[in-house]
Subunit: 81 residues, 2 copies
Amino acid sequence: MARARVHIRLKEGILDPQGKATLGALKSLGYEEVKDVRVGKYIEMELENGSKKQLESRVNEMCERLLANPIIEDYWLEVED
Amino acid sequence: MARARVHIRLKEGILDPQGKATLGALKSLGYEEVKDVRVGKYIEMELENGSKKQLESRVNEMCERLLANPIIEDYWLEVED
């Protein structure tokens, strides 16, 4: 089995309400050293074996079509075959 | 500014409905090579500078108290000072 790891994060400058809420909650618990929080997604996939290059290309396509919203999100991926 | 990256993922054996839904959607788009999907969280934080050891200990505490649910989730973190 090959494995892919995908990170998805809102682009810089896009408001992140979940991050802001988390920042507020951390501050109210006394973690005053926290200055900013951004919350993104981390996706792990198991895939049938294939060439690393082909798997990367397929997972990239999955991100473009379904997993991420390329207008407001950045993503990056790693594949282990 | 120091930076922390936190990954949070459901423990092995805990049902992941969001992962299952994503798997189904990928299959319906023709990505038959995908065998399993797990969806977790990726959190980036900016923090006031401090010693790496102390920052790690504080962020670990934030995970235990607020960010993760240690009963059903695993988490791991990296700090860059």
